[in-house]
Amino acid sequence: MAVYSTNEFRSGLKIMLDNDPCSIIENEFVKPGKGQAFNRVRIRNLKTGRVIERTFKSGESLEGADVVDMEMQYLYNDGDYRNFMHPDTFEQYQADAKTVGDAALWLKDQDMCTVTLWNDAPLAVTPGNFVELEIIETDPGVRGDTSGGGGKPAKLSTGAVVRVPLFVAQNEVIKVDTRTGEYISRVKE
């Protein structure tokens, strides 16, 4: 794997730190007029999601991490693992609950999502920004209410619970922003 020096640290670069794959968030160059230069770097640990701050002497280097984001289709949940497939190669990947994390709330069979692979094994799963899911449980709809105020909880087919406006009824399909977990609109079949 390639080695990157502090000058090459850019946002999004994947590197190995303390044996974990990490992604560079921000790299700040700090240098006294006469003296040693440093880089203060904000780094996200891709395994734990934690963000840490680390300082390097300018010119130090880190090994790159073999981390790639790949668009894949979510196939099914076999109980222990969630299964994904690369749409071109048909290669399949399995990810455990820990790896999938909160993305599980938004994964519907056949939907496309982003699977982050580290050394060819799933490291994280990111759902699409918007998903369309069916409401399987909510209080009956209230006719005529079109304002956004109030709302009620609705349980979706994946198990996620979102707040929806009062007029939205059970068995309807809605569009949700997975980044905020917020209701966007109803989806007309």
Binding site: N7, E28, F29, V30, K31, P32, G33, K34, G35, Q36, A37, F38, R40, R54, T55, F56, K57, S58, E60
Partner: protein, 304 residues
């Protein structure tokens, strides 16, 4: 800003000069990275783009120019960031017969005019005092154990690895991250009495050889410049050049050419003087409250 600076020096009878940006030689500091180019005439020869006009200006001083100032471009390779562009503008001036206090007075006077007196009154603080205030450490006497304990306490263990037993790098780090951000909130702050290991081209203090006759200028937590009571001893200067060249070789850094013409000028006699360089792009940043240096440049290096 430039008009104000020129009027300031005109009033004080300081001569504006211009010296070459390209030179046969360069500074030797291990932390400096150069731009070089090739002079193609006859025998191809490597030339350096200056990192500051210091050496050429000192040669003028030795030749009897009297007090001089210059506004010019300087170049430092591999320096890019919120406060750094590899090509930047320097204001550098030398005052014959000035000691460090006289020069600090003049810096304060210049900044007062430039900022139209909108900042609070300037402060002068001794390096070791402010260093101890923010870190609890003794800046002048290095102790690997107490410095490391500080790093562990602040969860910055990586610093112990890369600083090791190098006192100067420890000071660079601790000062940059723990002290500097507090300096000169809404006002000018002059830090003087730098530890001897960070003397660069300054003299060591006559009364306390642990400190150098050097000060730095901070405004709103941003470093703007360095002032020195200039070293005029050519033998001492040559020794520091050689030390730094050896250090560069040990660390496998690009080769540099030491400035024999500067050494000759020092030998012939540099008048007693103090000098300072101020980064004008950063000063402008503060005066117009810009977020990054690229906001005050026509085109930064990415777009040059």
């Amino acid at each position: 800003m430039l008009n104000c600076i020129r009027a300031f020096f005109l009033e004080r009878n300081v001569l504006e000069v211009e010296t070459p940006l390209l030179s046969h030689a360069c500074g030797t500091e291990p932390q400096l990275d150069f731009f070089t180019t090739i002079f193609e005439f006859a025998k191809p020869e490597k030339l350096f783009l200056q990192t500051s006009p210091e050496f050429a200006m000192k040669r003028l001083l030795a030749a009897g120019s009297g007090s001089i100032y210059q506004i010019c471009k300087a170049f430092r390779n591999n320096e890019v960031g919120r406060f750094h562009n590899p090509e930047f503008t320097i204001l550098e001036w030398y005052r014959v017969g000035f000691d460090l206090n006289d020069l600090m007075d003049e810096v304060e006077a210049l900044f007062a005019e430039l900022s139209e007196y909108k900042f609070e009154s300037p402060k002068r603080i001794f390096y070791a005092e402010i260093f101890e205030h923010y870190t609890g450490l003794n800046a002048l006497v290095f102790s690997f154990e107490t410095y490391s304990a500080f790093a562990i306490q602040h969860e910055i263990q990586e610093v112990i690895t890369f600083c090791g037993k190098n006192h100067a790098i420890w000071l660079d780090y601790l000062f940059s991250f723990f002290v500097q951000p507090h300096l000169g909130e809404n006002g000018l702050c002059l830090i003087y009495g730098y530890p001897g290991c960070q003397s660069a081209l300054a003299r060591l203090n006559q009364d306390n050889s642990l400190v150098a006759d050097r000060f730095e200028v901070f405004l709103n937590g941003i470093e703007l410049g360095n002032g020195f009571y200039e070293l005029s001893d050519s033998i001492e200067q040559n020794r520091r050049f050689n030390n730094e060249i050896q250090l560069r070789e040990r660390e496998d850094l690009p080769k540099v050419v030491k400035d024999k013409r500067l050494l000759a000028a020092l030998e012939s006699g540099l008048p007693d003087c103090s000098g300072i360089a101020i980064g004008l792009d950063r000063l402008l940043m503060i005066l117009v409250e810009a977020e990054t240096i690229s906001d005050v440049l026509s085109f930064d290096i990415e777009r040059a």
